[in-house]
């Protein structure tokens, strides 16, 4: 009787052991760099933010989308392979297939108005304070957003949220929403966006011209 009980207990243990020994692949470690910026006008007058090619946007719903490309530049496959393998032998939670850390980071984002925005912001002035960064259910100042950017990327194969392509490009999309509704509607507006990186590089792009009504 005792041996039967022992066998039952052992079988449960063995089954759990077999199931827990997962076939986890090695994590591939990469590094990436920020290497390109493009900017677009966005329209938030509808239910969701959309990139707009229209020449007119309601000023209370205008924004700029920064599309920053990131490119992996180094691959250190299996750097901690032994540690991962032994860890995964008793646990079915495999590590990520890829882990990518940055060589450089964003230190600042500035927006300048190319034309007169209003009386307070003539052409050429820094208008960054008039924009907030929108992430899910959250509006924050540009400086607060930059402090909280999560740079380490974990992903398994194709991950739509990072929209990386077959050549391992990543995108960081930042939606800057215009919170100051006092823009003049007498002439079209155009904005220059500068992204400052920790290695000293500066990306600079201009938005398409837009009439804010």
């Amino acid at each position: 009787m005792k041996s039967k009980v022992l066998i039952i207990f052992l079988s449960v243990f063995i089954i759990r052991l077999v199931v827990s020994c997962c076939d986890c692949g090695e994590t591939t470690y990469t590094k990436y760099t920020h290497f390109n910026l493009s900017v677009k006008n966005i329209d938030n007058s509808g239910e969701d933010i959309v990139v707009s090619t229209d020449s007119l946007i309601v000023k209370t719903a205008y924004g700029i989308q920064l599309d920053i490309l990131r490119k992996p530049i180094e691959q250190e496959s299996g750097m901690s392979a032994i540690a991962f393998t032994s860890a995964n032998a008793v646990c079915c939670e495999c590590g990520p297939e890829f882990e990518s850390t940055p060589l450089d980071s964003i230190t600042d984002v500035k927006v300048f108005t190319i034309n007169d925005f209003n009386e307070d912001y003539p052409a050429g002035t820094d208008i960054s304070a008039c924009f907030n960064v929108y992430t899910y259910k959250s509006f924050s100042s540009i400086s607060t957003y930059i402090k909280n950017i999560s740079y380490v990327l974990f992903y398994d194969g194709y991950d739509e949220s990072y929209e990386h392509t077959d050549t391992y490009f990543f995108r960081l999309k930042i939606n800057l929403l215009l919170m100051d509704t006092s823009a003049t509607s007498q002439h079209p507006h155009k904005f220059k966006v500068q992204v400052f990186l920790s290695d000293g590089r500066i990306f600079e792009q201009e938005t398409p011209e837009i009439n804010l009504i």
């Binding site: 938030n44 007058s45 209370t60 719903a61 907030n132 929108y134 259910k137 509006f139 929403l177």
Partner: protein, 262 residues
């Protein structure tokens, strides 16, 4: 209405029923178990016409699907204690009606200026609330009939829902979160403490089995407050409007079933 009529008829002929039997034949059993089903009739209105009525799973109309279980122990010839459990089923139809009314009222208020998120918390699933009570019961019996008046206190759970959804203002960056909840908490029910006066009357089918009718009135004081909060994610401001439910609620329960004694 038929149940009420039947109860009145039984009460009217009660004296005749008792006069026909000799007291000496009566066997006083110590343990009684009973089960019945019936109708719960609200005698006062709980709901007040506000939008938050739709988040309280009660109707001010009779509820027909009520199950009742009772368990009594008589420690003397006449006196005993009885514990009861009432299960009050809310129909899916009622919840659907409440959900539709809630949606309509939210659409009426916000549809012109806002896009309304199409994810509703309130789901039209059938639920139930329950009440338990413990009381003291007095026994009056004849050879064929019996009459057990009872006084009891207990607690009753009332199902409530929370509704929370996002509103995106048209032509604007404004994003709001609309929430209706008790004290801003996502709770499933609240508890009230009913005081109940009831009686079991019935006919003895044989030594063990009895045909039983329950008539019970109960009263409880409800004091809850729903908050309607509108949180603006841009300004981080929160506007709160309160809906109070401070009332004494009275109910009448009429049910019929079987009782086993031993």
């Amino acid at each position: 209405m038929k149940s009420l009529l039947l109860s009145i008829v039984v009460c009217c002929f009660w004296a005749h029923a008792f006069s026909q039997d000799t007291v000496s034949n009566i066997v006083y059993n110590k343990w009684h178990i009973k089960a019945s089903a019936g109708v719960n009739i609200p005698l006062t209105n709980f709901l007040n016409g506000n939008i938050t009525d739709n988040l309280i799973m009660l109707n001010d109309k009779p509820t027909f699907h009520v199950q009742y279980f009772g368990f009594a122990y008589f420690f003397t010839k006449h006196w005993g204690v009885e514990a009861d459990l009432h299960v009050n089923y809310q129909t899916q139809k009622m919840k659907e009606n409440k959900q539709n009314d809630l949606k309509q009222r939210i659409f009426d208020e916000f549809e012109d200026n806002y896009f309304i998120e199409n994810k509703w918390f309130l789901s039209p699933k059938t639920t139930s609330d329950f009440s338990c009570s413990l009381g003291i019961v007095y026994r009056i019996e004849s050879g064929s009939f019996y009459f057990y008046p009872k006084l009891s206190v207990g607690f009753k759970s009332i199902n409530v829902e929370t509704e929370r959804l996002m509103l995106k203002q048209k032509n604007s960056h404004n994003l709001l979160e609309l929430q209706y909840a008790i004290d801003n908490k996502d709770i499933d029910d609240f508890i009230v403490y009913p005081f109940s006066l009831s009686t079991s009357i019935g006919y003895k089918l044989n030594k063990k089995l009895r045909l039983n009718i329950d008539v019970a009135t109960s009263a409880y004081y409800a004091n809850i407050t729903f908050n309607k909060s509108l949180k603006n994610f841009v300004t981080e401001s929160v506007d709160i409007k309160q809906y109070h439910y401070k009332k004494t609620i009275c109910n009448l329960y009429l049910g019929a079933g079987l009782m086993i004694v031993f």
